[in-house]
């Protein structure tokens, strides 16, 4: 087969930087981020969408990037955990994870943090979860556990992850504008 058929040119905007790449069609966004762009925050935990450790934001929505072909993301805006901080001050969700000691080994943490950022945005937009009751603003541990149910932590740091996301939700109004 003509090798030109096996690769594609794509343009990605990752953490504000535009990248023009020619990639094997089989590349997942996770592999592209890690292997081609040296952004190793997103982790390959399970490679089939079960664990959430590869969670990044694509056009503002949290997704498992192990299940996305990079060529299908042509023209997308991608934010990884590396793009949440400006290099000096941490993103409030990152601060909350530190303050609450919301991890042990840290492997799942980039995915947890990106997922929490996506979850807080969904909450702010009034998107209901399966445990959302009526039109009350979402809050409470049950709500957060449901919203974060796509991210596993094999150290089982869940109690402090829930507290960290709760803290960040309380402060969300202050920093909403700067969240990617």
């Amino acid at each position: 087969m003509d090798s030109r058929l096996l690769t594609s040119a794509v343009t990605l905007r990752v953490n504000g930087t535009v990248h023009r790449l020619t990639l094997d069609n089989r590349s997942t966004l996770l592999d592209t981020l890690r292997e081609d762009l040296d952004l190793t925050g997103a982790k390959k935990g399970c490679d089939h969408g079960q664990c959430g450790s590869c969670t990044v934001l694509v056009d503002g929505r949290r997704v498992n990037c192990c299940l996305l072909l990079t060529v299908a993301c042509d023209g997308s805006e991608i934010t990884t955990v590396e793009g949440l901080s400006d290099g000096w001050s941490l993103h409030p969700v990152q601060e909350a994870f530190l303050a609450r000691d919301a991890f042990q080994c840290g492997y799942c943490t980039p995915g947890q943090v990106c997922s929490a950022v996506g979850a807080l945005r969904e909450m702010a937009e009034g998107r209901p979860s399966a445990v959302t009751v009526g039109t009350e603003p979402p809050s409470g541990a049950a709500e957060i556990r449901e919203r974060m149910s796509g991210n596993l932590c094999r150290c089982a740091a869940y109690p402090n992850i829930v507290r960290a996301v709760g803290d960040a939700a309380e402060r969300a109004a202050e920093w909403w504008e700067r969240t990617p």
Binding site: H48, L67, S129
Partner: protein
């Protein structure tokens, strides 16, 4: 692996006609699992992400036209009133990340007996609109599933949308799994009441080679509600009626033992789901007086 990127629906149909073995991919949450694990090595993929109309829905007088690639999270947010059963089922699909990508078209294309969309589509009543360069046809959803992970699509056809009857009464969905996320159903059940026509719809998941309706259970319940005048009175459904209904639902199942559960457990759990969802829809019907003739 060739990656075809049609810009619109016409191009997509031409691509599928030219490459009948190509696998269509939209959210990717099912296809990619198989590709990442080497279970599937397609020569070509047809990326449907550029086709805007697949991510659109439209509410008509009696039906909702749901684009094949509308993600589950948008069904939950935008169509909970028109498609309550499907929205409830969508809440249980995968995880929030999966729900941001996956949609009903993928569930239908995969045609797994465990797909979460199938019971509510069967219960509400739906037609799958499929198309090829040869033309368009609409397949009643109960005829769409033809075997384990097999469907009625011809090699050159793509799923364009699903036409689902708008809810005219309460609908429920319930699913058994080991936790609240990332669960493939051990068994699942969808139930819809249609007060206008005094009929009910059912859908059973993960308990037979394909998703199925329990026709005898539907007819029994319709008759029992009618004979006791319960549609008008809003009275309680007698436990004996609920029990017989559950028995008939189980009779429509043909489950197997597998890693997720035994056939015996599935039968037992399905009966519980049938009784429970009947309680829920009937409570809602009585409370909201959905089209009830007298107060």
């Amino acid at each position: 692996m060739e990656f075809l990127r049609p810009a619109d629906w016409t191009e997509a149909l031409a691509a599928k006609a030219a490459h009948p073995s190509a696998v269509p991919i939209a959210g990717g949450t099912d296809v990619m699992v198989e590709i990442n694990f080497g279970l599937r090595r397609p020569d070509a993929l047809i990326d449907l992400n550029r086709i805007v109309e697949l991510r659109e829905w439209e509410v008509g007088a009696d039906t909702v036209r749901l684009g094949a690639a509308v993600p589950y999270s948008r069904i939950i947010d935008e169509l909970p009133t028109e498609l309550p059963g499907l929205a409830l089922a969508a809440h249980t699909v995968g995880s929030p990340q999966i729900r941001n990508r996956g949609g009903v078209g993928g569930n239908l294309g995969a045609a797994s007996p465990a797909g979460d969309s199938h019971p509510p589509l069967l219960a509400a009543g739906a037609e799958v609109e499929v198309a090829s360069v040869r033309g368009t046809r609409r397949i009643p959803v109960e005829e769409f599933y033809t075997g384990v992970k097999r469907n009625a699509l011809a090699p050159d056809e793509l799923i364009r949308c699903v036409h689902i009857k708008r809810a005219d009464g309460p609908q429920q969905f319930s699913k058994v799994g080991t936790r609240n996320a990332m669960v493939i159903a051990v068994c699942a059940f969808g139930l819809a009441l249609h007060p206008a026509t005094r009929t009910v719809g059912t859908g059973l998941g993960s308990v037979a080679p394909t998703p199925v309706r329990a026709g005898a259970a539907e007819r029994f319940l319709e008759q029992a509600l009618d004979e006791a005048g319960l549609w008008d009175s809003g009275g309680v459904v007698p436990p004996a009626v609920a029990g017989k209904f559950a028995d008939l639902v189980v009779a429509a199942a043909n489950p197997i033992d597998d890693v997720r559960g035994t056939a015996g457990y599935r039968r037992h759990a399905l009966a519980v789901l049938a009784r429970r969802t009947l309680d829920w829809v009937w409570d809602e019907y009585r409370g909201k007086e959905w089209g009830r003739a007298c107060a």
